[in-house]
Subunit: 425 residues, 2 copies
C-alpha cells in the first residue's frame, strides 16, 4: 500500500464517463462510477478501480493508525466461517443477513458478516490469566451481508470493507474505561477523513446486555437513518429509541433537530454476551475463574468513502478532503503534440513533483480537448489542479487552482514545489 | 501496511504452544500454528495472527512491487460474483470448485475463485481503440475454492490470498512479448522471497487455446504435484503432460529427475477464450473491430508463505528468509525483575533499534525462563537473535546469533546498531 506511486492518465486504463450509470440511484455511486473510481458488478457489489482503491487504502490506513494508537493489534480472520460457531451463540438461526453456503463435503458455512463468533474462541485459546488482560485486536476485512435493499451505493453493500476491533477485559470498569478511549479514537478518524463537523455520537439500542450502544452518525440527505440532534451537547438519539429516550441524554433538552444520517461507525459493550457462549474465562489474582468482558467497535472504510462523496461534492464532481484524495495534485498539460513546449514543461514538472514526494495524477493525454480535461479534473476532485499551457509558459508559470475555490493563480514554475509544500492542503 | 511498527511480546496476545495442533497433518500449518502465526478455524480456513499477517503483507508487497514494475495497475474486484457472468463463459456448469450461494432476493452468486469473468467485461467497458492497448491490471484478494481435500495447510486452502494479473493485447505477438516479461517478473518474486533455487519453470497443460501453460513449481516433499526436471536446462514438465511431452522442451533430453513440488504460480495465455465470450473487441488503426488477446498470471501469497516454511525450517522451527520474516531482529532480555540491569539495558537497546528503523520483536516477558525464550525464538525464526543478560553486560556486550547458524558472538553494545546495518541479512 504505497501511495507515492505517481500515475500518468495515458496509462490509467479507466475512463471518465459523461453518462449517468444505468440502474444506479445513489449519488455517491453515480459520481464514483462516472469518475472511474468504482465499477458496479451487481446490486451492492462494486469493483474498486485504481483511483478508488487508492482512496479506500488511505481511509483504511488512517483507521489503522488510530486503532494502533489505542493498542489494537492487527490480524486477519477468514470470510468463510463454519456453522458450529454461529450455533454456539444462537445466531445461525436469528441473523437474517448471513449468506449461507455448503462445501463439497457438505459442511455448512456463513460468510463473515461480523466476527464475534471467530474472535471469541480465538482469544480464549490464548488467554489464561488476568495478567494477559486487557488487550484489543482488529482487522480490516471484506464483509458480506445478505441485504434485501442495496440501493445506497457504497453506503450499504452486500460486500463491503469493514474495520472491526474487539477488546477483552477483566471487568466492566475496565471495559468502560477502554470504551471511552475508543470513542475518542473514532472522532480522531472522522476528523482526519473530513467528516467530523457533521458526525454525532448517537445513542442507539443496546440489545440485551447494555442500556445503549453508540453509533457515529454523519448527517447527509443520503442517510438511511433518522436521528434527533441536541445542538447544545452535540449528541444525538437514533429514532429507533426516541420513544424510550425523548430528550438529550446529557442536558435533557426535548427540542431536538431531526436529520437524516449515515451510520459511519458503531461501538458496543458486548459485556459477556459472547464470552458466556464460548465459556471464555480467565484466572484472577486468587486463581478464581471469571468471565471476560468484551467490547466491539465497527467502522466501514468503503461506507466512509461513499459518505465522504455525499458530503463533499458540488455540481461538477467530487471535492475530496486532502487526506483521502486519490492524489493531492492533478497536473494537466494543455497541448496536442509530443514535442509541444507545454508537454515538455509539464513532463519536467511531473518529474519534479514526483521527486518532491507530492502525489500527482498527470493528465498527459494529447488528443483530449482542454475543456474535457478541466471537466474531468473537477469530476475526479483532487485538491489542487495545476495547468501548464503555452499561455502559462509565457509567464514562466503554472496555473494553480484549489478544487473547492473558484479563483486560479499563476505561480512561477521555479516556486511551485515550495508553494505546494507550504500549503496546508 | 507499515512494517516499522515494533512489538513487545508482553503485548502480543498470541502464545507459542508446545503441543502439536490436533487435526493438522501438514508441516507448514503445524509449525505456523505452534509459533503463533496462524490459527485454524476449519479445514483449509485459517486466521492470520499478528505475526502471520506481517509475513503475508511482506510477501504481498514484494509481489506488488514486481507487478507494478511490469506496468500492472492495482484494483480490487469483489468476492461475490453473479451467476450470469459465469454462464456467459460456460463455467457456471463446469467449474467444480465454485462455492455457489443465493441472496435474499434469490439471485445466485459464485464466490470468486478466479476473476476472468469479472475483469473481461470490466476491461471491455473502458477499452475502445488500439491506442489503449496493451494494459495490465492486478489485484491481491481473498479467493474461495470448494476443495474436496484441504489437508496441506496454507498450500491448499478453501480460502486463500491470491495475486491475479490480467493483460490485454492487440494481437498474439504482443501477448507473447508480455508473457515473457511476466515470466521474468515471477522469477524476481521467487528470488526475493527465497524460493528461487528450487523453483522451476514447468510446462503444463494449456487447455483449448494454447499448447502449454507454465507453472512455477517449488520442489518440496510437501508438494501435491509431481514434476520431471531437466537439470541441464532448469526446466520441468508437469506429470499431467509427461505422456505427451516425455523429454525436456528445450534440449530434448529424456532422463529427467522426478520430484514432488508445490505450484507457487502459474501463467496462461488465455488468447481469446474470454474476450470471445464477452465479445471484447477494439478498433484497429483502420477502424476494424478485432478481438482482444488476453493473458492471466496467478500467484498465491498465502501459498508462498506455507511453501517458504516447508523449505526453510529445521528441527527447532522456522528459518525465515530476511525479506519475509515477521521481524528482522528478535531481542531477548534474560531477567526476572523490572529493575534488573539486563531489563534496563534491553529496554534502551530496543528503543535504539526502533529509532534506527530495525524491525524488532522484543521478548520483554519477565516470568518466562531463558530456555523457553530461546526455544520460542528458534520456533518463530527471525533472522537475527540478540540476547541481553547479566553475563553479556559484564562484557558491555550483546550476544548476536543468526537463526541459520550455530555460533553466537558477543558484539559491544555501542557497535550493535552499526553491525546490524552492515549485515546483508
Amino acid at each position: 500500500m504505497r501511495f507515492a506511486m505517481p500515475m500518468r492518465q495515458s496509462q490509467l486504463f479507466t475512463k471518465v464517463s459523461r453518462e449517468l450509470p444505468k440502474d444506479e440511484t445513489s449519488l455517491n455511486a453515480q459520481i464514483l462510477i462516472r469518475a472511474g473510481f468504482i465499477d458496479k458488478l451487481a446490486a451492492g457489489i462494486y469493483t474498486y478501480l485504481p483511483l478508488g482503491l487508492r482512496v479506500l487504502n488511505k481511509i483504511s490506513n488512517i483507521i489503522r493508525e488510530e486503532m494502533e494508537a489505542i493498542g489494537g493489534v492487527e490480524l486477519l480472520m477468514p470470510g468463510l466461517t463454519p456453522k458450529d460457531v454461529w450455533e454456539t451463540t444462537g445466531r445461525w438461526a436469528t441473523f437474517d443477513a448471513l449468506f449461507r453456503l455448503q462445501s463439497a463435503d457438505e459442511r455448512e458455512y456463513a460468510l463473515g458478516a461480523t466476527h464475534e463468533e471467530v474472535v471469541t474462541p480465538l482469544a480464549k485459546k490464548h488467554t489464561f490469566s488476568y495478567k494477559e488482560l486487557p488487550f484489543a485486536v482488529y482487522q480490516i476485512q471484506t464483509k458480506f451481508r445478505n441485504e434485501l435493499r442495496a440501493k445506497a451505493g457504497l453506503i450499504r453493500g452486500r460486500e463491503f470493507l469493514m474495520k472491526d476491533l474487539y477488546s477483552f477485559h477483566a471487568d466492566e470498569d475496565d471495559l468502560n474505561r477502554y470504551y471511552k478511549i475508543a470513542q475518542k479514537a473514532y472522532f480522531r478518524v472522522f476528523e482526519r477523513v473530513g467528516l467530523l463537523d457533521r458526525t454525532y455520537l448517537t445513542f442507539a439500542s443496546g440489545g440485551a446486555f447494555s442500556k445503549y450502544s453508540h453509533e457515529f452518525q454523519t448527517v447527509t440527505e443520503a442517510g438511511e437513518d433518522l436521528i434527533y440532534i441536541c445542538d447544545d451537547c452535540q449528541l444525538a438519539i437514533n429514532s429507533e429509541i426516541i420513544a424510550d429516550q425523548p430528550s438529550c441524554p446529557s442536558c435533557e433538552k426535548t427540542e431536538l433537530r431531526q436529520a437524516k444520517a449515515v451510520e459511519v461507525g458503531n461501538i458496543f459493550k458486548l459485556r459477556s454476551r459472547f464470552s458466556d457462549a464460548f465459556d471464555f474465562r480467565y484466572a484472577d489474582e486468587q486463581g478464581e475463574k471469571k468471565i471476560v468482558e468484551m467490547g466491539c467497535y465497527g467502522m466501514g472504510p468503503s461506507r466512509i468513502m461513499g459518505t465522504a462523496v455525499e458530503v463533499h461534492h458540488d455540481e461538477r464532481g467530487i471535492v475530496w478532503p486532502a487526506s483521502i484524495a486519490p492524489f493531492r495534485v492533478h497536473l494537466l498539460a494543455l497541448a496536442q503534440k509530443e514535442n509541444d513546449k507545454a508537454v515538455l514543461a509539464a513532463n519536467q514538472l511531473y518529474v519534479e513533483l514526483v521527486n518532491a514526494g507530492i502525489e500527482t495524477l498527470y493528465d498527459d493525454r494529447l488528443e483530449t480537448r482542454a475543456g474535457e480535461k478541466f471537466a474531468e479534473a473537477d469530476l475526479i476532485g483532487c485538491p489542487i489542479r495545476l495547468v501548464v499551457s503555452d499561455k502559462t509558459l509565457k509567464e514562466k508559470s503554472v496555473e494553480m487552482k484549489k478544487r473547492g475555490e473558484a479563483a486560479a493563480e499563476l505561480v512561477r514554475m521555479d516556486k511551485i514545489i515550495g508553494t505546494l509544500k507550504s500549503l496546508n492542503q
